[in-house]
């Protein structure tokens, strides 16, 4: 079974082709502002150098957020168009799932966090079996820290963002085989239904909600 994995939810392009638990090829490129222009070109090169044809892919696992709104949409548009037009299986996972599962050291709890600015983060808490103890959410870092006081065991943060006054942060380096193996049997969804996990309303919607509540 050949699986295409794609994550463009940060400034990195993370992409891999995994066949039966073996890494056929991978991309870990910090593209930043060039992500939208270069992502598909890099993916097509990956197919070329691994002698993979698009038709050979059996399933796509795509990260649907949280993270950079634009980045998420780039990857999701590529993945859902690919899956729809070639009638391929597709499923989505969260960027926080991928971060927790890739951690190479053993802890009782894994806490992937992504900087959402203004003192807020996208975060989730997983136990050692990757069950969500605290679901994916947009939360203030201070509130998250309070939650951690009650965690019964060892834990680590996982992030590629920089946070002041935050210790025990492991950097995130995706382990593609581990991620793909963990999610390869996750239920497929209709490509048309593939959508982003923003975890946050747009500013206009937030303002409208505030006005409605007043």
């Amino acid at each position: 079974m050949k699986i295409l994995y794609l994550d463009t939810s940060s400034s990195f392009l993370y992409c891999a082709i995994v066949k039966d638990s073996i890494l056929v090829g991978e991309l870990k490129l910090k593209l930043e502002r060039e992500l939208s222009s270069l992502a598909l070109s890099e993916i097509s090169n990956l197919f070329l150098v691994t002698s993979t044809s698009a038709i050979d892919i059996d399933k796509i696992i795509v990260v649907n957020g949280p993270g950079s709104f634009t980045g998420i949409r780039v990857g999701l548009t590529i993945a859902k168009t690919f899956a729809w037009t070639l009638k391929k299986d597709i499923t989505t996972i969260s960027s926080l799932d991928a971060m927790a599962i890739s951690c190479q050291e053993k802890y009782d709890f894994y806490i992937p966090i992504i900087d959402a600015r203004r003192g807020y983060v996208y975060a989730c808490i997983y136990d050692k079996n990757y069950n969500q103890v605290l679901k994916n959410q947009y939360i203030s870092l201070d509130t998250l820290k309070v939650t951690l006081d009650n965690l019964p065991g060892t834990y680590t943060f996982i992030s590629n963002d920089k946070f002041e006054n935050l210790n025990n942060v492991k950097s995130y380096d995706p382990d593609f085989v581990k991620i793909v193996n963990h999610f390869k049997d996750k239920e497929n969804i209709n490509p048309h239904g593939v959508d982003a996990l923003y975890l946050k309303l747009t500013e206009a919607e937030e303002k409208q909600e505030e006005q409605n509540n007043d």
Binding site: I55, T70, T77, T85, T202
Partner: protein, 334 residues
Amino acid sequence: MKDVYILGIESSCDETSASIVRNGTDEIATVVLSQIDIHTNFGGVVPEIASRHHLKNITMVLEECLNKANMTMKDIDAIAVTYGPGLIGSLLVGLEAAKTLAFVHNKPLIPVHHIAGHIYANNLIKTMEYPLIALVVSGGHTDLVYMEDEFKFQHIGGTLDDAVGECYDKVARVIGVGYPGGPVIDQMATLGKHTYNLPLPLDDNSYNFSFSGLKSAVINLVHNEEQRGNIIDKEDLATSFQEVVVDIITKKTLKALKEFKISRLILAGGVAANKGLREKLSTVCVENNIDCSYPPIKYCTDNAAMIATAGYFLYKQGKFSNLELNAKSSVELK
């Protein structure tokens, strides 16, 4: 000669659209999914919301278009997509979808300038002949373009600030008649009489336009009248506003036609659906022996048929892009 089928994709603002056009003239199928009802709640297009909806809709729109045409991707010769100008987040969804289709089906990818698309919408009605002057008027554009020949654009003038459609939306908001303002004000203008004295904006020797002063004049007029306790007659104000807008656009368009010695005018863009503007330009063109054409309303607003049509001419010229094609919020028409 073999027929050429171009799949066009347009997502530069708040319409997700796909279309298949044969040989740059025959529309086989078009699907337009408008978000207008969503953005009406916010008084205008919210870029982030537009991008989110494009992502939700893109593959459904593509599928419906192919189904409507009873075609598959195998029948498509190339994929044409709007790469700019427009809202960057919106553009990116259409662009990434187009790039992905080009990649997995190994089809040529054709980048189309949004304004070129609006202009070439006219080719769906009758074969365009050159030279001509194109007047492109919409929510994002107010441009006068001289075309010496096929796909040879010379931008001779444009707005220095607000686009004309944007000005309609703002005036509509000030007088409280909702969004989008263009069709409402156009309709109201037929019911009122020219009562209010508004300045003719940027009435100079150039081909440029400026609507921000006119917009401010309307805002000030409304506020001043309100402070005096006078009730504004909205229909009369709509008539006065539209008359000024139509006058200046007609004046500069006619100046361009005369100075470039051109006898063909084409209208394009969402505001080309404005009845007041169509009527005035048609009358002036008849008086001056100028052939004036404008597309039906479905081709005036954003749609992918115009992108597929423009894409056909680029296909003939072999103007393809690689997969590094990026979206551009602003880009010159060349």
